[in-house]
Symmetry: C2
Subunit: 199 residues, 2 copies
């Protein structure tokens, strides 16, 4: 089983049409999502092969689309934003049809559709959603075997996504007294999962 | 009192002469240090005004130099790497003399010299150094009032820095079963400090 992180980019442009020289202004804050990819996968001595990241892209005319990166198969996940942006841009440039996830490179797949496609793809596990008012992760019996963690981007979750996750049974968790960026949230959850898994 | 983070960039170019389009290859991995700046300062609802970051730049012909960013005075710390690189590059382009920290912009100062200059500047507090073999931070009575946290970049600390920090009395701490990147380490320490401070 894998650790799955699902980042919902409310404005992140699904077409991949953005400038590498000005990501925040041209990509619908794809930079936030790219930092989440780094935080989810990269550790000092390599790449977390047990992790899968979904980027749900809800911005622009091609939306919704979802990018899936599977740590067990992906190659060359670099830490810097520009390289990650380049990787995502190339993947999104490939035409996809409406039939689930299509692998466009080893470990990288793209699907038409948003959260509903992810919910159909993640498989079994315990769903969590990061919310400021949620229960402290350290007071939660965290499932380190098959967690599915949903997180918003720099905006809070949209109402439709929040409602869909509630129907899905996602448990609301928080990460401490100060609300942090999405990538930091993923860093904190990965560390917590590492600690639970090592007990 | 402030939370101080000191990041030691073993190859990070002290001259500021690097390409924004290829940071990892041209800057001596300044990208690692820039991500540390973001992790130290930025939270969902703004900037941590109680935090000071030192970037010790040991790479290139102008080394050693140190950049200091003071959260109580700095403006416009943006989250994306390219904007952070631009900010640091502009600060380093300003000529500095050999007389301690010189403020080059509000909240941003540059000094000639490396770790010894930082040790003379940080003031009172409890020093910690992040090491894989250190004591788990959760089993440490962490000083949340005046911590000074030293961290290496993507390489481990050089012997001279490690020896200087040992003489300085820095306590070795670790952050969990899996060794993480420097920016993730700072995220984890900030969260731990938030938790200790809120008790």
């Amino acid at each position: 089983m894998a650790r799955r992180f699902v980042v919902i980019g409310r404005r992140a442009v699904a077409s991949g049409e953005f400038s590498l020289d000005d990501l925040p202004s041209t990509s619908g804050r794809m930079d936030v999502l790219l930092r989440c990819v780094r935080a989810a996968f990269l550790v000092s001595h390599g790449l977390r092969r047990d992790t899968i990241v979904y980027l749900v892209l809800l911005g622009g005319p091609r939306a919704p689309r979802t990018l899936r990166i599977d740590g067990s198969a992906v190659r060359f996940v670099r830490p810097d934003e520009r390289a990650l942006a380049n990787m995502v841009q190339k993947a999104l440039a490939i035409a996809t049809s409406g039939e689930g996830f299509v692998e466009v490179k080893p470990g990288i797949a793209v699907a038409e559709g948003g959260l509903e496609v992810v919910l159909g793809d993640v498989g079994a596990g315990t769903a969590y959603v990061l919310r400021e008012h949620g229960r402290d992760v350290r007071e939660t019996a965290l499932d380190a075997i098959a967690p599915v963690v949903f997180v918003g981007d720099d905006l809070d979750l949209d109402d439709a996504s929040a409602a869909a996750l509630a129907r899905h049974g996602a448990r609301e968790i928080s990460l401490g007294p100060i609300s942090v960026h999405a990538d930091d949230a993923i860093t904190l959850v990965q560390n917590e999962l590492d600690r639970v898994a090592s007990r």
